[in-house]
Amino acid sequence: MRLSLHINGRPREVDVEPSQTLLDALRETLGIFDVKEGCGEGVCGACTVLLDGRPVSSCLLLAATTAHRAITTVRGLEDDGELHPLQQAFLRHGAVQCGFCTPGMLLTGVAYVQGHPGADREALRHAIEGNLCRCTGYAKILDALEDYARETKRG
């Protein structure tokens, strides 16, 4: 079936199978590899995208249900080549190791902080519980999120 997916502000026409997940359509059909597959069953958060601004596991979602809705991947966070403030905070705080969880972590973090400006560390900790990271132990990710949440409140 033919769909129009709105990805990072641009429409993309795509042929998908009715049973195809959004993750599979993005990666295999469209070649958008900035979405990662970590578990395929909605537990690890590596495949997180924003759907109309809310984080979802793209491995659990049928592509066909996302037509005409706004899909944001990590590439959609950059503004005219300028890194998003949370991406900058991740770099400043050394929140990236292997980087496989990073796209999902960034998207979950951006969505949460936008809804909760100035959120404190414990709220942020809870917010990223659905995004597993095996490398960092989360502390530097939370340092970055905390910084970004503070900036958001001021802004």
């Binding site: 590899f33 597959e37 970590g38 292997c98 990271c133 132990g137 939370l142």
Partner: protein, 777 residues
Amino acid sequence: MPGHDERKGGLGGPLLGPPYRLVGRSVIRHDARDKVVAATAYAGDWAMPGMLHGVVVRSPYPSARIRAVDTKRAAAMPGVATVMTASDVPHNTLWTDVPGQTTEVGPLRARLHVLAEDRIRHQGEPIALIAAETEQQAREAAETVAVDYEALAGVFDPAAALEAGAPAVHDQGNLLAHWRVRRGDVAAGFARADVVVEGEYRTQHVDSAYLEPESGVAWIDSDGVITIRLSTQVIEHFRDVAEVLGVRQNRVRVIGTYLGGGFGGKEDVTVEVYLGLLAWRTKRPVRMVWTRQESLLARAKRHPYRMRYRTGALRSGEIVGQEIELLADSGGYAYLSALVLLYSTVTAAGPYRVPAASVDARVAYTNNPPTSAMRGFGAMQVVFGYESQMDRVARALGLSPLEVRRVNALRRGDALPVGQVIETHVALPELIERAWGALGEPTPPRAPHVKVGRGVACNLQPYGRIVWLHDWSSAWVGFEMDGSLVVRCGVPDVGGGQASSLCQIAAEILGVPLEGVSVHIADSALTPLAGTTTASRQLYMSGNAVLKASRELREQLLAAAARMLDADPAALEMADGAVRASDGRSLALVELLRGCARMGVPRSHLGIYHAPAGEPVDLEKGSGKIFPDYTFGCHAAEVAVDTQTGRVTVLKLAAAHDVGRAINPQSVEGQIQGGAVQGMGYALMEEVVLEDGINVTTSFASYLIPSAGDVPDVEPIVVESGEGLGPFGARGIGEPPIAPPAAAIANAIEDATGARVTQLPITPERVARALGLVEGG
């Protein structure tokens, strides 16, 4: 500054002294810049025109005989390009050399079949390979491979496997290796001890559980070279692929991608041999990406251990004798088990002076999933044993746990029970004090039935490979004509900043900005080989190779500059992209490079670093060097125990390690925090659950790793003695931080409640049993 002693095996005195321009600074890593915008092309993020998709057909049985494999139906399925079984593999055996001599068993060459021939020894053992036009088609075809199995009796417990009459996993018997140490008179030690404490401890199977499953793409490149781009810690497995295919080693190229985590799980071969076979057979590009379920089912685990410790001590706390018995489960094949047990044998008494000790470390075949390398590599499990014992000694003598550790802590010049003398500074007293001090004010319990307690655990972890392996690494450093710098090194980057640290070192020595450096890594055809990213060895080994190459390049460039300036080379320095003379004259780097071109002076250098080497020693007699050096650490934990439910919450965890020198302190902290959280997962949550060899935890919904809400922020404490054998006095820090949390937490639970838990993971149920809330256990 101490350290940098050639005798110990470092590179010799620093050409440049502190203060350093880049070394010791938390620079932003080039790979992190890529990763925050998802520009990193991981192994599975790769597609090629006409690419097939490969899958592995695996055994559902843990112990069986294969009567027949019928692939006719699978081969006829839509989209299927090939189906391969054992008879299609030119050389169906993978070998692992295990140097050294183990008691009773002797030197080992571990072997396993690429695809099973007649015997299945564990669930998930590979039987056939399929490549098809789509992944879906390949999976559907896999369902139709008809294997006629005769189920056989299996053995699922290492102790049972060693009993007479146990089902034989391998024809030569189920004892895979037995390492023995006898040092001093243990009986006399116990005879003069004021107290003797005994303990039995059990640890579990756990999984590396990196976020990126095993993945790669293979194709036949120009001149027929089989090229495999994959997520691996060891690009040198190109030799294994060549051996299996029966081609010369220079006909196989492995390109290692930036990994989505490794932790030892990508040290043995993963997909490269399967991909090599399928591409060779079909002459088309093939991708293979394991699902999470397959990764959890098929990858080797950390060895579960049973440990028996008997420790004798004087009233002062001084240990005078220790008996240690270890028994580990290797699962169906040997993989690296013998070496893992060697690590345990060497470190079994911990970072302490134990004048009389006996160690018996055995590992047995069973029909459980195979076990092999995982972060800590056998030096981890024993920490739960020896550090639980230290607290038991303290408790029996009425001494503080800190005091007992300080009394026994190794110092430079002391020997381990295997006879290796520690030649570098041991910062244990400082590490203990700082970790404990970092806990700060005690946290008040939030309810009367919640008890709060504290515990510590110290450890030692080798960095660098066993000296018998004659380890080396090489790196190429060279300038382009515009003054930009290129580093080529065959190092796989598992996410710890392996590549970035090399850039810092080269830029430091050659006086160029970090932004002016490009690094090319992990290509067996195009980068000088650097060995495995395992054993906490890459900063040490490849860092030294880059340091050596950079220093020698610097000398050769400064000699050329001296000719151009008619100056003394000793009066010249390289900084800010120029050469400066002490009399104020300077030469722009690009001018120097043009001059080099005219004079025929090379603008590059290949550096090779050889680690201290030695021949295998007889552990039992106990003399000689086994590892180049060790990293020491101490973690302190504060826990809250709910005495109604047995639930344990880690409130604080401070983790101190002497890293020698932190090249990038932020990366070092990240290793410590991440390792300690994996260690907390091991302590409290993680367990591969097996029911008669069948893995029932093959999803992230059942195999639980820590989420952000499960663990506190780890406070990293970075101590820099400058005493390591790596560049600028660095020690390895990849593995060490994973090991202490389990024992520190168990010790804190006893401090809080008086109850000791001796089996991992420390689930609420086990705590409730230790507290006497429920019967049995």
